[in-house]
């Protein structure tokens, strides 16, 4: 068990910097998720913690040791790879026990530990099989077993569920959560799937373009996105982002323009803001209500109606040609081509300044 600290970590490939000075602190026994779009550097960051990638600058601490120059195996971390990376020429037993064998653990002890792990993961009957004879879910369990058996102080997961089908992914997600509860070990999990991030994490680290955009609990980042990137990335369907401008600035009150010309007064910190400045209004699809319900409303025409059973997605074009998504009730009768009046509460509005930072 250990905390993980990154201090001003940088990584360059052929002079091209991809991680731009990332610093973060992960607490002991915490389950954190690095989430971000493809190419944001989340896997590179994880691989640097694992020791599989050199660090261009900065320091990584696992526990109280700086592990910069330590061999991957000496860092006390174990990793589950996206592709499982099971040794195809070994059976499941040998795959799980390989690390112990390398560490010269005696055969009786290896057998005991492998059987214990197999029991936890319910793969006892698979121990004599080769990886090629296993299903995707079984392979994933073996890959996890291989990490558990080494009793690491930090678990690293690199998009471990992305090769599984949707149903299995949900099941494995729950199993990983249970595993975390049972082992009480620090876990760092990389994914581009925000559902995995939201459901599993104690804290989410949202990365974009080699920098951390926001750190917080799943609900924190969902409810209070720090910038436009986080607002657009977290949440599905994504937050509606409407271009607007400042009509008036008073002390602690901002007046902005709504699509169609309406005026929206909002209580905000108005420091450094001036009339005419561009900004973005963000409203989550579930916070828009049909029939003017709320403090304010604006109008739009329905382009597409998607009935999902429990809810209905309405894709709407407003008066300023912004594309808006609204989540209505499952039994909504709104038809394509109808005009809807989208109501919302002031408290559900997010305002971002011209540089994309949130205005609180």
């Amino acid at each position: 068990m250990a905390e993980v600290n990154l201090k001003n970590i940088r990584k360059s490939f052929d002079g091209n910097e991809v991680i731009h000075g990332v610093s973060l602190d992960i607490e002991d026994r915490e389950f954190v998720v690095f989430v971000g779009p493809s190419g944001c550097g989340k896997s590179t960051l994880l691989r640097m913690i694992a020791g599989l990638e050199d660090i261009t600058a900065g320091e990584i601490f696992i526990g109280d040791r700086c592990v910069n120059d330590l061999h991957p195996a000496d860092r006390g971390a174990a990793m589950v790879f996206q592709s499982y990376a099971l040794y195809p020429h070994m059976n499941v037993f040998d795959n799980i026990g390989f690390g112990l064998k390398l560490n010269k653990v005696n055969k009786v002890e290896i057998r005991r530990k492998v059987l214990d792990v197999a029991k936890i993961l319910r793969i006892e009957e698979l121990l004599n099989r080769r990886p090629a004879q296993l299903s995707g879910g079984q392979r994933q369990r073996v890959a996890i077993g291989r990490t558990i058996v080494r009793e690491p102080s930090v678990f690293l997961f690199d998009e471990p569920l992305s090769n599984l089908d949707a149903a299995l992914r949900v099941q494995m997600r729950m199993e990983l959560e249970k595993l975390h509860e049972r082992l009480q070990t620090t876990m760092i999990y990389v994914t581009h799937d925000q559902v995995e991030a939201m459901t599993m994490a104690n804290r989410i680290f949202i990365l974009n373009d080699g920098v951390i955009e926001q750190i917080g609990s799943p609900l924190e980042v969902y409810r209070n996105p720090a910038n436009l990137f986080v607002a657009g990335f977290i949440g599905s369907p994504r937050m509606n982002l409407i271009s607007s401008s400042i009509l008036g600035v008073q002390e602690k009150q901002l007046t902005i323009q709504l699509p169609g010309g309406k005026v929206l007064p909002l209580k905000r910190n108005t420091e450094d803001l001036g009339e005419g400045e561009r900004l973005t209004l963000g409203i989550r699809p579930e916070h828009l209500k049909e029939n003017k319900e709320g403090d304010e409303f604006f109008e739009g025409t329905v382009d597409v109606v998607e009935h999902l059973g429990n809810e209905t997605y309405l894709h709407i074009t407003d008066a300023d040609k912004n594309l808006i998504t609204m989540i209505a009730d499952g039994d909504s009768n709104t038809q394509k081509g109808e005009t809807v009046q989208m109501g919302f509460h002031h408290k559900n509005c997010h305002i971002f300044n011209a540089t994309g930072e949130v205005i609180n």
């Binding site: 599989l52 991957p72 790879f81 996206q82 592709s83 040794y87 195809p88 690390g99 090629a132």
Partner: protein, 288 residues
Amino acid sequence: MHKNRGTRIPPKSIRYSLYSLLAVLVSMIFLFPIYWAFSTSLRNPIETFTVSGLGIPFIHFVPTLDNWIDQLYTGEARRAIGNSTLIAVSASLLALFLGTPAAYALARFRFKTIKNKDLTIWFLSQRVLPPVATIVPFYLVMQTLGLLDTHLALILINATFVLPFVVVIVRQTFMDLPIELEEAALMDGASYFGAFLKVALPLAAPAIVATGLIMFAFTWNEFLFAVTISSKDVITIPIHMAGAVDTRGVQFWFMAVRAMIAIAPPVIIALLAQKYIVRGLTLGAVKG
């Protein structure tokens, strides 16, 4: 539709028959010289050019094992087989032993001063040079070392010449292996050498064995250096074959036997090791 049933041959069958016929014809073109050598090896010298038809034993002539007995019981032939086997096996193993780690390094590590791509091309460039251009330097080197007409000289020269192939072919094999397997081994506690030895090497083994077989065939067939570097004590099979030419002309009956002996080892080894040539061991290692 119903009317035609039973009267028309489906086009697929016609295609299949044509392909089969073509395959048989092509095989015959390749196999005929071997068959002819085999047939000649069973004839009396006098029947070499007088046999009619396709020279089928028992039909067109009465076969005899005299040529085989003569050749197999002379010390020369047996020495040539022994020499060739020792040189080909040793040179192939030496090339694999030296080339496989080099191939792995080129596949997995990034060299900074000279780029990996340039190093690979440098290896390959050793084979661009016509071997004949290196005869004099090699002769002088071996003379200086006192190795002329020794097994060691031919082993070293042959290993040098097949080494680039080993490096290039095996490098590609390592590159095709998922790197995560070795990374997993590193995380499990293996050193870089351990990951190579315990994970990459067993997985690349089929390709390495296949490469070794090809190198064995190359070395087994090598003529140029064998004839220049060693001409008395270390006679190899190709030199022995060429030796069937004497003042009376070409002794086709002996040459046929020697040709069959020369063909046999690479063919037998290839047949026995067929399963290693078939790849697919990595199946199931990664997502699927």
